[in-house]
């Protein structure tokens, strides 16, 4: 689960992680007020969307307007905010369609001496969180890793003990921080790692992390993603911005389905994540384009299959649907019952190709063939299924 920068910074502040002073603005007037409230000579107006690259991003409606701007007066804050709010910001990470900006964060300017990179992620090799820092603040860490890996430093974060002060100093010395900043790092880095651990984050990234001219570490940006598996033990629900999520994906999650919308025109309904992914691959291999990833899970019932079909068909791009089920513990005939009921309830308008294999497949095929629904196309194996569904688009 992703949250906005301003939410992450509010959580940071509460946890004792240093952030610049900032005010949330939902209207242009609020942005102007925010500038006055902060009281400085400069402020930064930042678009709040769940994607990076905002500074270099531009608005569809205002091609000269950047997603993050430095302003020197309340009027300037208001004028920029007018162009930004309600407009569509396109960055390297949003894709061409961009994202609508509904919220701005107006932040006090800082006297910056240095910009660093900081990220805490789960390292799959050491099975532990790891703190990654680099002297190249503001740069994409992947680029730095590729071009100048010697500028990246890592320290493991013990899940029980957190980050120790000596580890913070170790990193600070490697980064060449001066005495004052090393002292600041001794507090900042362990506090930030504790934030990661206490909130079950899967990513906490601060890019840039700045060192101010008086030697203090401050989080100038904040990107926080929580581990979806641990949401049950936190109260993060009010931080969720549903406008940032695909409506159908939210709906799918509520029905216990795992769904990801894609750009193609062949809808897929599959059991199991691996099989669902490879069904997409198979469609592509045979010249089609998958419209979605959809895993109905191991125990799909009539309601879930019905909802799955509705979600797939709600996508106007979908011109055919492929059902690929390998019945394990879930019996194929049970799936067919659900399928037939759902087929009737939903009212199909596009071709449906069904491939079944596994437990009770004979019974399932018989049920399908005697159902009177002759417009359902059956397939014998994976390749046959992919060819048939692609053929429905060209015939």
């Amino acid at each position: 689960m992703k949250i906005h920068e301003y939410q992450a910074k509010q959580l940071f502040a509460a946890a004792g992680v240093a952030v610049p002073e900032g005010v949330v603005a939902k209207t242009a007037d609020e942005a102007a007020d925010a500038f006055n409230q902060l009281g400085g000579e400069i402020a930064v107006v930042k678009s709040q969307i769940h994607a990076g690259g905002r500074g270099k991003g531009r608005f569809k409606e205002h091609p000269d307007q950047a997603g993050v701007v430095l302003v020197r007066s309340a009027d300037e804050a208001r004028e920029n905010a007018e162009r930004m709010l309600g407009s569509t910001l396109v960055t390297l990470q949003t894709g061409e369609e961009g994202k609508t900006v509904n919220t701005l964060y107006v932040e006090a300017g800082l006297d910056i001496a240095r910009e660093l990179y900081l990220g805490v992620i789960i390292d799959r090799e050491s099975n532990s969180p790891v703190l990654i820092m680099s002297s190249e603040g503001g740069m994409e860490i992947e680029e730095v890793a590729k071009d100048t890996p010697e500028k990246i430093f890592r320290e493991p974060v013990d899940v029980g003990l957190g980050l120790q002060k000596f580890q913070a100093r170790k990193l600070a010395y490697k980064l060449g921080l001066d005495v004052e900043a090393v002292r600041s790092a001794e507090k900042f880095l362990p506090t930030l790692c504790n934030f990661f651990l206490e909130n079950d984050c899967s990513v906490t990234e601060v890019n840039p992390l700045v060192v101010t001219t008086d030697g203090q570490l401050v989080a100038l940006d904040a990107k926080v993603t929580f581990d979806d598996n641990s949401l049950f033990r936190h109260q993060f629900e009010e931080l969720r911005d549903l406008s940032e999520e695909e409506e159908t994906e939210v709906r799918a999650a509520q029905a216990g389905l795992s769904y990801v919308k894609l750009d193609g025109n062949i809808g897929c309904l599959v059991n199991g994540a691996g099989l669902a992914m490879s069904t997409m691959d198979l469609i592509k291999l045979h010249g089609g384009e998958p419209a979605n990833f959809l895993d109905v899970g191991g125990g799909a019932n009539v309601d879930q299959v019905t909802e799955a079909f509705r979600i797939i068909l709600a996508d106007d791009n979908v011109q055919a649907v492929l059902v690929n089920i390998f019945g394990g513990i879930m019996k194929c005939d049970t799936i067919v019952d659900a399928l037939l009921t759902a087929y009737e309830k939903v009212g199909f308008t596009v071709p449906l190709v069904v491939r079944l294999e596994g437990t009770n497949v004979e019974l399932a095929r018989e049920k399908l063939s005697t159902s009177g629904k002759d417009d359902i196309i059956t397939a014998t194996d994976l390749t046959d299924a992919a060819q048939k569904v692609v053929a429905t688009l060209t015939s």
Partner: protein, 292 residues
């Protein structure tokens, strides 16, 4: 011969009084697995469908001689259940549970090491040595006895592969689902090593997917250490970056963990990579033919 599961295996189920726990315990027993009991704290001393229930894993081990555990405990309590099993001296733990917080797994891992305990999963279908025993939720009849070692991150894709192998007369020595989470107990490399050393295994099929770099590491390991023919399939060639594809670990995070990288690494290590999920069985045949 086989790996991990054999005639000596004695299994208990943690979470046996839950719906899934009981159902799959019954299925394992039907398959022939020596399932000697279960654990549900607070229900010790009772019986469920003939299975004795114990309050603790330690108690179950003492009374039944169990040496393996299959875990169905719900996600919030699963990390604790794994650590309890390790502490009680269980040497093989199979965690079926999906949805364990990743930091819980980070806490579990050092404990496993300390107790010299092997964990399969979490978020996996389990292990089967066809004809002998299964510890998991896979349908037994799909897996025929044979000499292909099967390792997979995905459940239904494993069934698909076992079915394809069966159709061309290739059974499995042992088939293992390692799970699709970011932190897992056993990796491709752990199991590749076991299969390489298992006289009952003559070839290996590994099924990976996008996310992380376990497949690339496996490729390096194969190149240096595996003499048996290896085939592979990688799911997610068409997966978009930055989106989690069902499994918690199946995500291309900012350019890393793509299927293309994994396929290239495996091919460079001499692995026969299936071009589609329909080609997994045939890829094993080609891998074997290439060696003879």
């Amino acid at each position: 011969m086989s790996i991990l599961v054999n005639e000596e295996t004695r299994v208990i189920t943690q979470g046996i009084t839950g719906r899934a726990g009981l159902f799959h315990s019954q299925k394992c027993r039907e398959y022939g697995t020596p399932l000697v009991g279960g654990v549900t704290p607070g229900k010790g001393g009772t019986k469920i469908d003939g299975f004795p229930v114990f309050d603790s894993v330690a108690d179950a081990v003492e009374k039944t001689g169990a040496n393996a555990s299959m875990i169905f405990v719900p996600p919030p309590f699963c990390g604790d259940a794994i650590m309890e099993a390790a502490d009680a001296g269980i040497k093989l733990i199979v965690a079926i549970t999906e949805g364990i917080p990743v930091l819980d797994m980070a806490k579990v891992m050092p404990q496993l090491k300390e107790h010299d305990c092997r964990l399969i999963g979490p978020n996996c279908p389990g292990i089967i040595t066809p004809g002998i025993a299964k510890i998991g939720i896979m349908p037994g009849y799909i897996h025929q006895e044979g000499n292909v070692g099967l390792i997979s991150k995905s459940g239904t894709l494993t069934y698909e592969a076992a079915w394809q192998l069966g159709n061309i007369g290739l059974g499995q020595s042992t088939a293992i689902g390692i799970g699709g989470d970011p932190i897992i107990g056993s990796t491709f490399i752990d199991l590749l090593e076991m299969f390489e050393n298992d006289p009952g295994t003559e070839s290996i099929l590994m099924i990976g997917e996008i996310g992380g770099n376990a497949e690339e590491q496996a490729a390096d390991f194969i190149k240096a250490n595996v003499t048996k023919p290896v085939a592979a399939f990688i799911a997610g060639v068409t997966a978009p970056p930055g989106r989690r594809m069902g499994h918690a670990g199946a995500i291309i995070a900012r350019g890393a963990g793509t299927a293309a990288e994994k396929i290239a690494a495996l091919q460079a290590a001499g692995v026969e990579v299936a071009e589609s999920p329909a080609d997994m069985g045939a890829a094993v045949q080609r891998a074997i033919a290439n060696r003879s």
